[in-house]
Each structure stands twice: as structure tokens, then as C-alpha cells.
């Protein structure tokens, strides 16, 4: 079980197992003191079932709806309505604890635990809420509680979607099959499938064994898109290209991909492209890469791979065009060192030797600084270099527009070159872990504000009770004077006393909630820093691996470029010799080029000049042109062949 990164479930367990002896039992009349405005909604937040058990829809979202069984009394239903309508989370928290103490059925008890967690979630204490939902979902599901537990499971999925670093608790994972068998309808089964889908992806990213993945895949049987995506991802991980293509094709072709899975469409296209590439179906690989959204973080890598796919299809103009895309606009900040190499190779293939040399030079110009920076950083002793995490954060905090100013001011290695910084920070691990670090820092403020709002509520309640007590005292005194022996207090006074009792009950709940709150807060404070340190450590490990890989990649490309240069010089010198041997070639080639321009002009629209390098004064970059760019360069090798053919024909005649 991976609880080390999470809030200790003990916190929530303590919180949820506290009981109050002698608490008021049974239903309590509607409180008059709750300072809550319930907004009018078209659809009721809560409906009451005459029989059956509680269940919910869209748990942990703004559209959360409940249908309660008779075991959850009206007071609690109303209080839950208030929470869902936006009442103060602290109010829900203390009420839920009150229910936890008084609950007489398992259903009510489980519901109170869900409610506590839901209140904490409303209070933006997501770590603690996560553990609360985990406690609810890790109970053995029964027909009585499965509706509430599925709501908790749904909440876990929602939270995981936002914070992928929240690891699913093993004790919940072990019960997914039970949930599936108890889920009464397809809508509830979807909750289980969504959870299992998230779990599978988490397991894949953790590098779990195939048997573990298969066990999760079993749960996804019959789950439609969840199943095909899951199977496709597992197949991609194991290198089964046929299965990857089959399953991911099913996934992307499905017209009803749920919103939660839409974010995996780009990943599916990239994986399919790689599978096609590995199967040497380069045209199909290119097709898939062109489907990657232009706003996707996969775009830069996708374009680099697209350039390769074009080159291997011998579509040199497209390969060059795509490589140019990566050297312009915002994409010039990305780490894609293969692009200039592919461009040099493509230009060499069409005997454009000077341009090919320029492409090799482009690599040197734009990757020299990142290379030197990384070599220097990685060559420095661990103790005398700053943490990569700090450098990545500094990179993100610097306004890109102030970059030139900062460059002059900051010494190496404190300043991270753009290509390295962008490659670090695009890492999904960096983004997700930093997201959780942000949450931990924000949660401190939330705990304080929640504590303050609790105190304020308690004070308000105290003032109301004081005023109410004083007024009732007078009324009782007056009534006593008028009463005959044996006579009871008037009904109005009795009603007011009942109302005061309700107020006192609420007040008492606040008082009883306070120590629990303190336990929660203490545990939060205790665990925040160790959790943060672990997250930072993981980021540092990831960034170091990336840095080493980047350096290695640049070294490898530099070596390849040397070989390309040898080939360029070789081809160019042969070209000079060949042209000397065929002095009339130049005129003939010019005629062929002009003819080519005329012909291509009829088919291709010339959208103007584009610079081949980022520093040149290039043309505009239109997002839709990325990946569909084609360089208009004449194939010099081809013109030689044509020249020779023409010569042979003239000799024959």
C-alpha cells in the first residue's frame, strides 16, 4: 500500500471513529440558527426514496445529487443540501461528525463519513478529503452502503484526475470487483470503470507487473472505450504493435468518448503513430501524428517524429517543411534536436548541399548553449550545484519577455536555456507533482480560513443562544407567576425551549468538532513538509534523468551530423566534378527548374517566404500549417538523371 505520500488514513480514521456518548438521538427539528442561504435550483439536490438505500449522481461535482434511503433522517438530508448549495464547509463538517456519533444504521454511519470528507473537499482540504473518501471506499461494500461508497469512489476518481499524484489506496483497489458486481446499473458501473481506468494508467506509469495490469484489465471487460484505451496502453507498453493499433483505433474511432477520456486522444495518436512507424508504415504514422492537437504538449515531439516519418517515405520537401516548423514561433523554444538533423539529411537527399550544411549549422547554433550548459551542470559535483527543481521553478517564474535582461544578469548555471527549461517543465511528472506541491501550500491557507470560519460560526451561535436564553428566562418567570400549581408551561414557551435546545445541540456539535478539527490540522501540519519533500525529490530524480538523456541525445546527434557533413562534402565534390564533365548541364537544369516552378505553381499555393531559422526575419506561423508545411525546393539529383536521359536520347537520335 502506498500511503507514504498521502495523508495518513489514521487522521481520518480517528476523525471518523470518534463517538460521543449520550448524544441526542433521533430526529431534531429544523434549526433556526443556520445562517445559510439555499439557492433555488431547477432540479432538487436531494430526493427521498421510500425504500432502498442512498445513492448519488455526479459526486464531488457542482451537479451532485442525492437520493436518500429512509435511514438518513430529514435533518441530515437538509444539512447535506445546504453543503451542496454552498454553505460553509465547517458547518457541514461539524454536522457530519454529529451524525457520525448518532448514526444508528450502517448506511447513516457511512454516509456521515462521506459527508465529513465532502465538507473537507468543499473546504479545499483535498488531501484530507482524499483520505476520507479512501476510508469510505475501502469498507467492504454491501447493498446498503454501495451507493454511498460508489460516490466516494467517484470522488477519488475526480480528485485523481485533477491531481494524478494522489495514489489510489490498495485497500480500495482490492475491492473494485466487489463494486462492479454490486453496482446496480450501468451509470454506477461507469464509476467503477472510470476508477479502474485511472488505476490502470497509474499502474502503467509506475511500471507495475503485467499480472497486475491484467487484473485491472479484467475489471474493464465490457467497459467500452475504457477497455479499448486500457488495452491499447498496456499493449503499447509491452510493444505489441498489432494490439496497440487495434485497441487504440477502436478508442479514437468511438464517437462517444466521454469527456474524462478526451485528454488521452493525443496520447493515443502518438502511440498509434509509433506503432505504425515500428511496423514501417510511415505514411500511416504520419497521418496519426497530424491528428495531434496543435495545443497539445505532445505537438513538438509529434512534429519531430513526423519529420522522420516523411523522410523515411522519401517525402523530403515535407520533412524539411516540418523541421522548419520546429524552428519558428513558440516551438523554437522546444527541445527537438533531431529536427535540424532530419532537415540536413533531407536536403542532402535532394542534392541541396549548401542548404544541407546550413541545417547542420542550425543545430550547432541552437543547441550549443543547451549542450554546454548541461555538460557543465552535470559535470559539477552534486554538493556544489543547485537542485534541478529550483532551476526549473526559476525558469517558470521568469517572464519569457524578460529573458534577455535576465540573461545578462544571471551567471551560469543559474540560468537555464529555454530548450532545457521547456523540456524539463513539460514533463507530466513535473507538472503533476508541482500541482500537488501548490495544493499543499494552498491548503495551509485553507485550514486557517476554515478554522476562522468555524470560530466565527461558533461565536455567532453563542451570541444567539445567550440572547435567546435571557429572553426565555423572563418569559418563564412571567409564566410561572401566572401558572396555577400543577399546570404546565404555556406551549409558546415550551416551543421556544425546544428551539433553544436545538441551538445548544448545534453549539455542542461545534465544540465537539473542534478537538477533531485540531487533530486534523495537527496531522496536516505534521505531514505537509515530508510530503512536499518527497514530491520535490521525485521531481529532481525525473529532471536529472531527463537532463542526462538530453545530453546524450545531443552528443549522438552531433556525431551523426559529422557523418552527414562528410556525406554532404562527398556529394558536393562529386557534384562539382560531374558539372565540370557536363558543362551544358547548368543551362539545361535552369530550364528544368523554371519548368518545375511553373508546374508546381499551378498546384501549390505559395503563401510567402518562411525563414529556415528562428533568428531570421521569417513569415507568419499559422497553427493549422504546423505539420502540413512543404518546402518548395527543387530536387537537384533528379535534374541530373533527367539531363542524362535527355543526353542519351539525343545520342540515340
Amino acid at each position: 500500500m502506498k500511503t507514504d505520500m498521502r495523508w495518513p488514513s489514521a487522521t481520518v480514521s480517528i476523525l471518523l471513529t470518534l463517538t460521543m456518548p449520550g448524544a441526542l438521538a433521533g430526529e431534531i427539528a429544523k434549526p433556526k440558527v443556520a445562517n445559510v442561504v439555499v439557492p433555488i435550483r431547477a432540479e432538487p439536490l436531494i430526493t427521498v426514496a421510500k425504500s432502498g438505500f442512498s445513492s448519488s449522481q455526479n459526486a464531488c461535482t457542482g451537479l451532485e445529487r442525492w437520493r436518500f434511503g429512509p435511514n438518513v433522517f430529514s435533518e441530515w438530508r437538509e444539512e447535506m443540501t445546504k453543503l451542496l448549495s454552498g454553505s460553509m464547509p465547517v458547518w457541514g463538517f461539524v454536522q457530519a461528525l454529529g451524525l457520525r456519533r448518532q448514526a444508528q444504521s450502517v448506511e447513516a454511519k457511512v454516509f456521515s463519513e462521506y459527508w465529513v470528507s465532502r465538507s473537507l473537499l468543499n473546504g479545499k482540504l483535498k488531501h484530507i478529503a482524499w483520505n476520507g473518501f479512501s476510508v469510505v471506499a475501502s469498507r467492504e461494500p454491501t447493498t446498503e452502503t454501495v451507493g454511498i461508497q460508489l460516490a466516494a469512489l467517484d470522488c477519488l476518481s475526480q480528485l485523481h484526475r485533477r491531481y494524478p499524484t494522489f495514489e489510489f489506496p490498495e485497500r480500495v483497489n482490492a475491492r473494485i470487483r466487489n463494486y462492479l458486481s454490486l453496482a446496480p446499473n450501468d451509470r454506477q458501473k461507469q464509476i467503477v470503470w472510470e476508477y479502474a481506468g485511472h488505476l490502470l494508467r497509474e499502474q502503467i506509469s509506475r511500471g507495475e507487473e503485467r499480472t497486475t495490469l491484467n487484473a485491472t484489465l479484467e475489471v474493464l471487460k465490457g467497459a467500452g472505450v475504457h477497455e479499448s484505451l486500457g488495452k491499447g496502453l498496456v499493449a503499447a507498453r509491452t510493444g505489441n504493435h498489432t494490439q496497440t493499433l487495434n485497441q487504440l483505433e477502436k478508442f479514437v474511432m468511438n464517437p462517444n468518448i466521454p469527456e474524462v477520456l478526451r485528454i488521452y486522444e493525443d496520447t493515443a495518436h502518438v502511440l498509434m503513430s509509433r506503432a505504425y512507424f515500428a511496423s514501417q508504415q510511415f505514411d500511416r504514422s504520419a497521418e496519426q501524428l497530424k491528428l495531434v492537437k496543435k495545443s497539445s504538449n505532445e505537438l513538438a515531439r509529434g512534429l519531430s517524429e513526423l519529420a522522420w516519418a516523411y523522410l523515411l517515405q522519401e517525402k523530403q520537401s515535407e520533412a524539411i517543411g516540418t523541421s522548419i516548423n520546429l524552428q519558428q514561433g513558440g516551438l523554437r523554444h522546444t527541445f527537438t534536436p533531431e529536427a535540424p538533423m532530419v532537415m540536413a539529411m533531407a536536403l542532402n537527399e535532394i542534392c541541396q548541399y549548401p542548404e544541407s550544411l546550413r541545417a547542420v549549422d542550425t543545430f550547432r547554433r541552437y543547441y550549443e548553449k543547451p549542450y554546454r550548459w548541461l555538460a557543465k551542470y552535470l559535470g559539477t559535483g552534486i554538493d556544489s550545484r543547485p537542485e534541478l527543481y529550483s532551476l526549473a521553478v526559476q525558469y517558470l517564474k521568469n517572464d519569457p519577455r524578460d529573458r534577455r535582461r535576465t540573461l545578462a544578469a544571471a551567471p551560469l548555471p543559474a540560468l537555464v536555456p529555454n530548450k532545457i527549461g521547456s523540456e524539463w517543465t513539460r514533463s507530466p511528472l513535473f507538472i503533476s507533482h508541482q500541482d500537488e506541491i501548490n495544493l499543499l501550500i494552498e491548503s495551509r491557507d485553507y485550514t486557517r480560513s476554515l478554522g476562522k470560519s468555524g470560530a466565527n460560526e461558533q461565536r455567532k451561535l453563542a451570541a444567539t443562544i445567550k440572547a435567546h436564553s435571557a429572553s426565555i428566562k423572563d418569559k418563564i418567570r412571567m409564566a410561572k407567576k401566572a401558572m396555577k400549581p400543577g399546570q404546565d408551561l404555556p406551549a409558546s414557551v415550551r416551543n421556544e425551549l425546544a428551539s433553544l435546545r436545538v441551538e445548544l445541540t448545534f453549539y455542542q456539535r461545534f465544540r465537539q468538532g473542534a478537538p477533531v478539527w485540531r487533530v486534523v490540522l495537527a496531522n496536516f501540519e505534521k505531514n505537509a513538509n515530508p510530503t512536499k519533500s518527497k514530491l520535490v525529490k521525485k521531481i529532481n530524480e525525473d529532471l536529472l534523468t531527463r537532463s542526462q538523456r538530453m545530453l546524450f541525445q545531443m552528443e549522438e546527434i552531433a556525431e551523426n551530423n559529422q557523418l552527414i557533413e562528410v556525406e554532404i562534402y562527398n556529394g558536393a565534390s562529386q557534384d562539382i566534378i560531374w558539372q565540370n564533365a557536363h558543362p551544358d548541364y547548368k543551362d539545361l537544369a535552369k530550364g528544368m527548374r523554371d519548368d518545375h516552378d511553373r508546374r508546381s505553381g499551378a498546384k501549390v499555393w505559395d503563401w510567402g517566404k518562411v525563414a529556415a531559422a528562428a533568428t531570421e526575419d521569417g513569415g507568419e506561423i499559422w497553427e493549422d500549417e504546423l505539420g502540413s508545411f512543404k518546402a518548395d525546393l527543387y530536387d537537384n539529383c533528379e535534374s541530373k538523371d533527367k539531363y542524362l536521359k535527355l543526353k542519351r536520347l539525343s545520342f540515340a537520335n
Binding site: 495545443s295 507538472i431 461545534f510 478539527w517 497553427e623
Partner: protein, 263 residues
């Protein structure tokens, strides 16, 4: 009765207990920092930083100019002063013919938003319709002329929203760079009977002929409430005879010059 007393006593005692929530919150409040941190690098133990901007298009880091669908605009207006000279016609009262000549100057805060001051002089006179009318009823008493109020000038301020930017093909021979904008203006129309507040709505386009110049065509719908001057009855000639709403349609064509360095 016992329950009554219990309730009251419990209520009075209960509320005397101090608030745990407050105590805890106060205990945990961080001490106010008086010193600025000396380190330049972020906290290696974890620091808050916005990662929302790198969840999509990570390479842009949230910078607007690199997030858009068009980057490195060839014809950019951002942070530039613009100056326009234009002329046109205004369709207003059918018995009045108006030609305009004007200038405007302003500033583009971004590629999408600009503000300008607009002034034009109206060269107004009677229209062909009025002339025909006058000729036809020349001998009729009290007739042969209509009541009108000639506009003399307009001056105001205008907000420009450039919504569409694109490339167009001119009969397959040339690429035109095109900008479409909407205009919201507020100003005054100076007429023979006085100056009137004139709000306006408009739409226009500019076609770039270079990085510093564009041909600009604008249409504006303008409305004001004017006082009419008596021109037909000799007894009250030149006297105001009442108010009416004037709805004008103005079309101007001119050249726009952009001043300022490219970003």
C-alpha cells in the same frame, strides 16, 4: 422543569468556553516576515508556481503572442500609434448630400484592441432630390423647399476591436493581408442647428499594403437627435421647428499609417 433549568445552565456555561477553532488558527498563524529572502533561487523544498500555463503549449509559458493561432504576425498593430486620412460619404436626410474628409489618430494596445480620436469635416449641401423638389414646386406658396439640418463636422472617440486577421488571395495572383474590425464610438455631430451627442457602431476592414500602411474602409451607423430649422414658411424662417432622430450611415475610405517598432 429540571430539563428547563438544565438547558439554561448548560447554555450559559457552554458558551463561556473559548473557541477552539480561533485558538488553533491564531496559534498556527505564521510570523510576519520583515526581511526579504536573500536567496535568488526558489526554495529547493518546494515552492508554489503556476503550472496551469504549461499544461497546454508548454513552450509558450502562457505568453499571449506565442499562444495564438498566428505567431510572428507579418503585419502587427500591437503597441503602435496609428494615423488615418480618409474621405467618404454619409447617407442621412435624403434631401441632403454629405461628403466627408477627416483624420483620426490613436493607439493599438494589442493586436485586438485600439482607441482613437476621430474628426471629420462634412461638406454638406442639398441633394439631387431636394433640387428636383425645389424645381418642381418652385411656384407653389409655402412649398418648393424642405426643412433640413446640414451636418458640418463630427468629432469623437472610438474603440476598435480587431476580430479577424487573415490572408486572402487576390485572383490567385497576390496575397492580401486583411484585418476586420468593429467600432464603438461616442462623439458629437456639429450641425447648422447645434452640436448633438452621437453614439456610433461600425465595422471596417484594412488591407495592408506594407508593414506601415494599410487601405482602410469603414462603415459607421450613427444616431443623434437634432433640431430642425424652418426653411419653408416665411413667417418662421430660420426658427427651430422641432426635434427628430437622425440616423446616418457613413462610409469612409482612407489610408492608415502605423508608427512604432515591431515587437
Amino acid at each position: 422543569m429540571q430539563l428547563v433549568m438544565k438547558t439554561l445552565i448548560y447554555g450559559c456555561l457552554g458558551i463561556a468556553v473559548s473557541s477552539f477553532f480561533t485558538a488553533q488558527a491564531a496559534d498556527k498563524a505564521p510570523p510576519a516576515s520583515t526581511k526579504k529572502p536573500e536567496v535568488t533561487l526558489p526554495d529547493p523544498n518546494g515552492e508554489k508556481v503556476n503550472v496551469e500555463q504549461i499544461k497546454e503549449k508548454y513552450w509558450a509559458r502562457g505568453e499571449e503572442s506565442e499562444m495564438g493561432v498566428v505567431q510572428n504576425r507579418l503585419y502587427s498593430k500591437d503597441q503602435k500609434i496609428h494615423f488615418n486620412i480618409y474621405g467618404g460619404i454619409t447617407a442621412t436626410d435624403p434631401f441632403v448630400a454629405v461628403r466627408t474628409l477627416g483624420i483620426s489618430a490613436g493607439f493599438y494596445f494589442s493586436e485586438y484592441l485600439g482607441l482613437s480620436a476621430v474628426v471629420w469635416k462634412s461638406f454638406s449641401g442639398i441633394s439631387a432630390a431636394e433640387r428636383t423638389f425645389e424645381d418642381k414646386f418652385a411656384g407653389v406658396t409655402g412649398g418648393g423647399r424642405t426643412n433640413y439640418n446640414l451636418p458640418l463636422a463630427y468629432y469623437g472617440a472610438e474603440l476598435t476591436g480587431s476580430l479577424i486577421y487573415g490572408k486572402l488571395s487576390l485572383v490567385g495572383k497576390k496575397i492580401l493581408y486583411y484585418d476586420m474590425h468593429v467600432l464603438i464610438g461616442s462623439g458629437a455631430t456639429n450641425t447648422q442647428s447645434g452640436a448633438y451627442y452621437t453614439p456610433s457602431l461600425g465595422i471596417g476592414q484594412q488591407i495592408y499594403v506594407g508593414k506601415r500602411a494599410a487601405i482602410r474602409l469603414d462603415y459607421r451607423f450613427m444616431a443623434y437627435r437634432e433640431t430642425l430649422i424652418e426653411r419653408t414658411l416665411p413667417s418662421s424662417l430660420g426658427q427651430p421647428i422641432g426635434k427628430r432622430n437622425n440616423l446616418s450611415n457613413s462610409i469612409t475610405l482612407g489610408v492608415q499609417f502605423l508608427i512604432g517598432a515591431d515587437k
